[in-house]
Symmetry: C4
Subunit: 203 residues, 4 copies
Amino acid sequence: MRSGRVEAFSDGVLAILITIMVLELHPPAGTGLEDLRHLGPVFACYVLSFVNLGIYWNNHHHLLQATERVNGLILWANLHLLFWLSLFPFITSWMGERSFARVPVATYGVVSLLAAIAYYLLQTAIVREHGLDSQLAAALGSDLKGKASPALYLAGILISPVSRWVTLGLYVAVSVMWLVPDRRLAPLAEHDAPRPDADAGPS
Amino acid sequence: MRSGRVEAFSDGVLAILITIMVLELHPPAGTGLEDLRHLGPVFACYVLSFVNLGIYWNNHHHLLQATERVNGLILWANLHLLFWLSLFPFITSWMGERSFARVPVATYGVVSLLAAIAYYLLQTAIVREHGLDSQLAAALGSDLKGKASPALYLAGILISPVSRWVTLGLYVAVSVMWLVPDRRLAPLAEHDAPRPDADAGPS
Amino acid sequence: MRSGRVEAFSDGVLAILITIMVLELHPPAGTGLEDLRHLGPVFACYVLSFVNLGIYWNNHHHLLQATERVNGLILWANLHLLFWLSLFPFITSWMGERSFARVPVATYGVVSLLAAIAYYLLQTAIVREHGLDSQLAAALGSDLKGKASPALYLAGILISPVSRWVTLGLYVAVSVMWLVPDRRLAPLAEHDAPRPDADAGPS
Amino acid sequence: MRSGRVEAFSDGVLAILITIMVLELHPPAGTGLEDLRHLGPVFACYVLSFVNLGIYWNNHHHLLQATERVNGLILWANLHLLFWLSLFPFITSWMGERSFARVPVATYGVVSLLAAIAYYLLQTAIVREHGLDSQLAAALGSDLKGKASPALYLAGILISPVSRWVTLGLYVAVSVMWLVPDRRLAPLAEHDAPRPDADAGPS
């Protein structure tokens, strides 16, 4: 089965998720600058989740570009990932509107943790389909970032009863860590994609 | 007429439906764990409908991949299916917010039943266009699951005045039954799709 | 310029419009059958607009399939059409929630009229780009339905102060008239689309 | 890396943004013509933002059609642009519902300014990847409109404490200025796109 429609469907869901989050950014009732300032926490959460979903789109893009074929397990692993990502508008809004209260902050971590695990499972299902000695498996290598993310989210959740700000710092740290694009898979993607200026590039 | 744009439009509608359902998951006013617990029924309904729409996407994906051409009847049979699916956010929200009250539970079954019938009609319209002795018709075979689903939904609706929990059990049973991907059409899809590693696979 | 991305963007907007209308179908506060019955007018409007947007998608699909190239004018004529179509969730909700009150019913007609005119302008811009003696122009022919729709909507608006039910009957009549797919452009589309079973079909 | 999926994702986000804005157009509680008239400011803002997002889609379309390859920087420059554009439903709704109050009007300008800067950064990142002596760089030329827009938005923000109507006039002026499609990039796009009637056109 081709990976094209899985990409298209996932892109659709991710594009909608990243966009409908703004519907939770309710325009203030007042018209002053201080009304904007009250939106601070909601806006900060919006930025964090926008970046996180952007990272997922980016990495998902690279992962599926390096994927040659999909099977039933991959389809469901992908839907499983989309399920946890679909909760981002909900937790973003809750954490923002309740000004970083303890339980919403921890819940944000739980959803982020489950999304990170779901991404790992998807990646594993794809690698299994392509073989452990495939180019894809080699390109992923030890996958340090993929293993560090769940650990950092778990640490954040555990720390949340003590200090919400350390927890939030950990969430931001994960996002910053991923903002650097996943260079491991880029060469594989270049292989597959026909380029208009097709001089032989290094692989 | 090509089936490509029908696929793209249906994917778009399904991606939006599966995603906007989360807008009905309103963040609680409180910030405690018990506020999350109150969301239980709404969340359970969200999971059920997410899985159901995922199943429809999956099966629709396989069905259209095996479809070579579409006609006007197929276009409208497809829109008819999308219409009933479009009511899922509405019934999911009603059933969840009213904590599985009798009438919402029965209504969920009615919409599910009509969607299942619409899928069957779409499938029939596609088979008719391709001929009863086509590969597609052969692959669908006796279509046991396609016939069992409406029967189970109908049973669920009729039982709902007696016990809502048996009804919900039947709804869940249908979803579990379909979670196994539709293996009948997979070989056909493989035929059509060019694979990068094009060694001759078994059909 | 290729027509592919115009199709993709328009499909996206139409898929979203047809889907977010359901967000205006608010789940009732009660849990009885009579609560569902109160939703009658809202639901009837939803069905009407779903069918209307489905017709626009269908005809837009055929029109752009027969379009070989687009220019700046066509791009803006297309956005102009999408603008009026984007008001359907608004007027659908207004007409439904106010139980077919006079002004909402007339407004529904105004938006439908302007959308029909915008479609006609888009079609004219495409025909002008391809030449009046092109296959497309010949296939459109006298375009009876395209000319009857605005006339019927205009009649509906003018009649609305006298009888809203005649007005609504005219709206439904236009939809029924268009439910028959536009056979004029189908042969052109078949020409462009490569078919797997490429026996020479009649044009 | 191909630009195809960046186009598809951006198209998706833009299609959703331009469409969900209508969800902020709440149907009035009344059913009279004067209820529609009260919607005037909200509707005017909707039109302005619809046109602005249409312009962005149009220019983005031309820019990416002339883009041969993307890198990580371009991906993030693109997401940065989408971030600011994603705030349009929020500011449109705030400015409209508060009837063009001073701070909302200035905020509209700030978001528009930041989106214009983000577009400029995206364009710069793409030109850098393709080389300053590329066709793309030559086609963009001095980019007068690209430089005038931020200046006009900045002027609008600064003038807003004095006269909101001059500010709004400047916003409208920018939109009108861009309504003329970006002819500089059109020839490049024609080069890339295979045309069915491939007679040699002027470049």
